[in-house]
């Protein structure tokens, strides 16, 4: 081996060591979480729900074991005695031909043919895109060959965001926002939204119109502390998987026994009760769309039980007591379309998995969530 080869070897190792030193120790967990998300997207593309209940199986192998015996504190705080109504998402802000894109506690609407991504997109100049990321996500594109769409937007989660005294404050759809310049790219209009723990930013001819659709997400409605949602008259109570829950009477109900194949569609205004009596396959071939329209949430609920439901919740889940049951929920990171809830029924080896579609103003999802109790 000559000197150059040795130099290359040293350079590669030094570069890796230097880069690795900058990475957090839990990178493996993040990696697994990323794989899990991609599998989830794949499943959504194929629009089959049965498999959706097991895609998190990848994470199960290294997920930390949970103490399942004690229900613990309430899963959702009671709001400290707060009596006021829970603020809702506003679906009327979504113009015709547009679709809502929710991320964390926030939601904006974008044209239906836009793409959803976790980073800036090159090469699709005709279509806009919305980036869903964290406050550290950069919208800067350094590649000079990258041609981006004129219209772009981002919802960036920033849990620690506080007020920005001294900056110009305004109100969008009843939500107080602060004009900021967090994105080091010209042309973006950016707002900090402390109430929703996000930064929203957009550029292009549609920027103002898009920012004008800002509202809280249905997920935030479900998880907002406060009074428990009352089950309306006319809703039907259902017992399945050791739990009892309510759903609108008009929703059609479907029973499924999940087997090989990719047969199950996400129910729209439906209740799908799944028995996982055989291993749920997730090897269906993937599609390719990341279109916002394809990722829109459906108002429905899926409940699954059986020996092949997910045994352990993904790491980072929030656990607590829900009507004397221990339950954990996993906040969707990439797609705000559904809330995964893992309910531990005493004496049952596997949790009952509930997936609640996060559509509309969030009231239906919140009511279903709050109705869950021992069966």
């Amino acid at each position: 081996m000559n000197d150059l080869e040795e130099l290359v070897r040293e350079e590669l190792r030094a570069r890796v060591a230097a880069a690795e030193a900058q990475q957090p120790a839990e990178s493996a967990v993040e990696l697994l979480r990323g794989v899990e998300q991609r599998i989830r997207v794949t499943r959504l593309r194929r629009r089959w729900t049965g498999a959706a209940l097991s895609a998190v199986a990848v994470a199960a192998a290294i997920a930390l074991p949970l103490t399942l015996l004690a229900p613990g504190p309430p899963l959702i705080p009671d709001g400290g005695g707060r009596q006021g109504p829970v603020p809702l998402s506003d679906p009327s802000l979504t113009p015709p031909g547009w679709v809502p894109v929710a991320y964390g506690d926030a939601q904006v609407s974008v044209p239906a043919d836009w793409h959803v991504s976790t980073r800036p997109v090159c090469g699709r100049v005709g279509l806009g895109y919305v980036v869903l990321g964290t406050a550290s996500t950069s919208l800067v594109v350094r590649n000079p060959r990258c041609r981006q769409a004129a219209n772009r937007a981002a919802i960036l989660q920033e849990p620690g965001i506080a007020g920005h005294p001294g900056r110009s404050a305004s109100v969008i759809n009843g939500i107080r926002v602060w004009r900021v310049a967090p994105v080091p790219v010209s042309g973006y209009v950016s707002y900090a939204v402390p109430a929703l723990h996000v930064l929203v930013t957009a550029r292009g001819p549609l920027a103002r119109r898009l920012l004008g659709t800002l509202t809280r997400s249905p997920l935030s409605v479900v998880l907002e502390p406060g009074q428990e949602a009352a089950v309306p008259d006319g809703w039907l109570w259902r017992d399945f998987g050791g739990i009892r829950f309510a759903a609108p009477a008009g929703w059609r109900q479907e029973h499924l026994v999940v087997g090989p194949g990719c047969p199950v569609a996400v129910p729209r205004a439906g209740v799908t009760l799944v028995k996982t009596t055989t291993a749920i396959p997730i090897s269906c071939s993937s599609g390719s769309t990341t279109a916002a329209s394809a990722l829109t949430a459906q108002p429905g609920v899926v409940v699954a039980t059986g020996p092949f439901t997910q045994g352990q919740v993904p790491s980072g889940s929030h656990c607590g007591r829900l009507h004397e049951l221990r339950a954990c929920y996993s906040r969707p990171i990439y797609i705000g379309g559904m809330l995964d809830l893992y309910v531990y029924v005493p004496g049952w080896r596997r949790p009952t998995v509930v997936e609640i579609g996060l559509a509309g103003n969030g009231v239906v999802a919140r009511t279903i969530f709050d109705s869950i109790r021992p069966g």
Binding site: D3, S27, I39, A61, I62
Partner: protein
């Protein structure tokens, strides 16, 4: 297989990220590539004969995705943390001293870059690299030689290698 896959990711995911970082020059981009490769590996895991085949298959998919992305000029800029304002550590300082070797490595063609990374970082044999790249060992030699030659020229390192 799910548990085996989870264990595999926990044990070898970081190593794949290192390789991917060297290919892309960006840790986040590398992780993105690895996630994609692991997703594809997971979805096709039933076709693999044993758990031992996971890593070679994942590496092969990783390299394939890298080559494809470069071929299509599919450069999606990656999210990065805020630009660090702290000093780099000593290892990076040492690397900086190698007078532009890193940029030169990243400027190589995708095949040349992949061959050099697999050869000098992963320590794979030419036959193994040929399997990963789905080419002949002779092509691997050619890519390696041309890659080193380009590095030599771009760095004016002739005197170092004689």
């Amino acid at each position: 297989m799910e548990e085996e896959f989870g264990r595999f990711v926990a044990a070898r995911g970081r190593a794949l990220c290192r390789t991917a970082y060297l290919l892309t020059g960006d840790w986040q981009a590398g992780e993105d590539l690895v996630q994609e490769a692991l997703t594809k590996t997971y979805l096709r895991r039933h076709r693999l004969r044993s758990a031992d085949a996971l890593e070679p298959y994942a590496r092969k998919v990783l390299i394939s995705l890298f080559l494809t992305s470069r071929r299509r000029r599919w450069h999606r800029e990656l999210p990065v943390a805020n630009v660090p304002d702290h000093a780099a550590n000593g290892q990076l300082d040492a690397a900086e001293d190698r007078s532009g070797l890193w940029p030169a490595l990243l400027s190589l063609s995708a095949q040349q870059c992949a061959v050099l990374v697999l050869r000098y970082f992963e320590d794979l044999t030419e036959a193994d690299i040929a399997t990963v790249l789905v080419c002949s060992p002779g092509a691997v030699k050619t890519h390696a030689a041309r890659g080193l030659e380009r590095l030599r020229k771009s760095m004016s390192l002739e005197e170092w290698t004689r």
